[in-house]
Symmetry: C2
Subunit: 420 residues, 2 copies
């Protein structure tokens, strides 16, 4: 599967060279560069805004929808926010070189398991210029080189941001190819990029479920799947119903467009008649549409939409909540394991043994008892900024912070040992 695009090959070769340079950088220099990058983005605000204005103009002319245009737009405040994000990464610990484990074998071999960068990280994302700086700060701090392929609609903005980052690296005597941007807008080039296994160690798609699906299906590079979250809250028969109401209100409505928002309520049949009308009243404050199965529809006195099978598999990212009635925690677990995306799931119960059954039985990165699913987030977990929420089993699960952007190697110290 040879790569034919010469520009991609050049980028790949540059990245491989830069990854060795990046891996060897000391913490102080990395932090200095990150802080200067933050300063540089603010200092060249004018250029970034001009570049962004061209992107916005083109997008408006092409009839892009206002929500997407909003994500594409930079402003002085947003640039300050991006810079602040980079400074926060500078303040986080540097995990590279950490001795994770050490053992000395009976034959005298001393084996150290040492944290190292992943190498070259590829990031494919949509037209959100803030991701460009985010992705750089996290991959750079964790000693990796990064190749960015952002949405074509943000190309000029991304070129301006990456240009600023590279100039700071260069001024500090660091190979600027620690961050490279693929400037092609041709889909065929993106497809070829995903096959650059020889140069890229891991590919992280950031964005819609559709983007992620296409990357996992087409990439030859190992992919970390992030993002899509069909998250459930299960209200057990032993639940504190006031707590349940507060948590569901929070998980559903605090921010509807995020992957850790609650999309589906599972309710125990023993409390549905008491609970659902109260919950509905609370959710009415935000005009949440309820899509209820037969039994919860009745409990709501018919004040709901009837749910179809499809509802239970849908990540709405909207003011909509599906409702499923069950007769036991086991049934709740089975329903979740059938429909969830491995992201975040919660149970509300006062019964510890039921809680433990749920925590063990539900297959997801993060499983909560008596708390909102909205906490699945790098900052909330104490990791700081993250590159995404992994929903796969391999490598890392849940919030992917700096530590999850690393691998390890074994350093083995001998004094002449040979194998018998």
């Amino acid at each position: 599967m040879a790569i034919e695009n010469k520009e991609l090959i050049r980028i790949g070769e540059n990245a491989v060279k830069a990854k060795y340079a990046a891996a060897a950088l000391g913490t102080e220099l990395k932090n200095k560069i990150l802080r200067e990058c933050a300063g540089e983005l603010v200092a060249c605000k004018g250029e970034l805004l001009s570049a962004n204005a061209l992107d916005i103009k083109k997008a408006e002319e092409a009839g892009m929808n206002p929500g997407l245009i909003d994500r594409l737009r930079l402003s002085p405040e947003r640039i300050e926010g991006i810079a602040e994000g980079i400074r926060q990464v500078a303040d986080l610990p540097d995990y590279i070189g950490e001795v994770i484990e050490e053992t000395t074998r009976p034959n005298g071999l001393n084996i150290k398991k040492v944290r190292v960068p992943l190498g070259v990280v590829g990031i494919i994302f949509e037209s959100r210029p803030n991701v460009t700086a985010d992705a750089f700060s996290l991959t750079f701090k964790s000693g990796n080189a990064v190749i960015l392929k952002g949405g074509s609609d943000a190309l000029r903005s991304n070129m301006a941001i990456v240009g600023a980052l590279r100039s700071v690296c260069e001024e500090n005597g660091v190979d600027p190819n620690v961050v490279q941007l693929i400037e092609h807008t041709d889909r065929a080039v993106t497809k070829e990029f995903m096959k650059m296994k020889e140069y890229v160690d891991v590919l992280i798609p950031r964005g819609s479920a559709r983007l992620i699906k296409s990357v996992t299906e087409e990439a030859l590079i190992p992919v970390i799947e992030t993002g899509s979250g069909n998250c459930h809250v299960y209200v057990d028969k032993e639940a504190d119903l006031d707590m349940a109401t507060d948590i569901i209100f929070n998980a559903k409505t605090q921010r509807i467009s995020v992957c850790n928002a609650c999309e589906s309520l599972i309710v125990h049949s023993a409390i549905k008649d008491e609970f659902l009308p109260v919950l509905k009243k609370r959710l009415d404050e935000k005009n949440v549409e309820l899509r209820a199965d037969e039994r919860s529809f009745e409990a709501l006195g018919g004040e709901a939409v009837k749910a179809t099978e499809e509802d239970f598999g849908t990540e709405y990212l909207d003011y909509i909540l599906s409702i499923k009635t069950v007769d036991s925690v086991e049934e709740a677990i089975e329903h979740i394991n059938k429909y969830n995306t491995g992201h975040s799931e919660a149970i509300i119960t006062k019964d510890e043994s039921t809680a433990e059954k749920f925590l063990n039985g539900v297959d997801a990165a993060c499983v909560y008892v008596n708390a909102s699913t909205r906490f699945t987030d790098g900052f909330e977990f104490g990791f700081g900024a993250e590159i995404g929420i992994s929903t796969q089993m391999l490598h890392a699960r849940g919030p992917m912070g700096l530590r999850e952007l690393t691998s390890y190697k074994y350093k083995v110290y001998g004094d002449g040992q040979v194998r018998q």
Copy 2:
């Protein structure tokens, strides 16, 4: 990318159901079952040998080469060996449920990072019936369900082995679908199996470089790449040359067919004239063919084959050693990073700072100073049996024992927390 083969779908659905059962099994029951499996394989030795005899007969008729037939063959001793391997896995620790980390956040949320199985593991391997039992014991002990696709030439042997394992599970009230064998011999079915992302969490190919390459190129399921090892030993100008001779002799000749055998020698120009003739004398004991670059060819007084560029990228798995001369440790590192497969690399030197430069600069799972590359092995590292040596950056690197066949989940305990 819908799966169409009904038999595969049935196997996939069975495996998903079995993975929840497997994840919940206690350590004692798992160990009891493993020991009974070992006993059962020995007890039904006769049946296994008959089944195997049919495979061997067919293979001989088809003109299979003697080396491959040897790998396919079972004998009473080999069955004893397989059983002993299973018992050893029973004796290893059970990592499932281990709390890897725990933290309590300022808002009172208690977050536990807990070790869990990967889920459904798919293993694609060649016609080696011992791998069948190996793969089962490791995946079962680590709480996973496994789907095996072995080489077609071993089908009857594999069916007999898997039948015995399943019967022991069943007798113990455990879902026998914790181990399933794909009995199709059709390549198209294998290709479809590799796309069963909906059912299988991770795919581990075991076997030749060709097999692994085809799996990484065709699979949609996340793959762990194992195996191929183009391993180097670098003899520095500050090396103890006697030690270097012993280590290279061991790494090259102790077992030529394995992935951690040395395939290439890198020698510092300052010591080549003294060292190479002595080394050649030692390697002559095993008739090792030397393929030397220009300068080492001279140092050997022409008693070698001239190396081509291709030699440096070749994993010989034979009594052949390529030789490259360099003028510095930096040049050695660069050469290794260009040609190696990320497996095992060694430096022989008395200079600690040179050693550290090498350990840090060489990109491989296991990097040795003053020891043979042959130690890259689960038992030698103290992990016990392993499913293979990972040569990729994601998830696990180096020997993949029981712990590397796990993932983790976050269990989060709250008392009503909602996100602000």
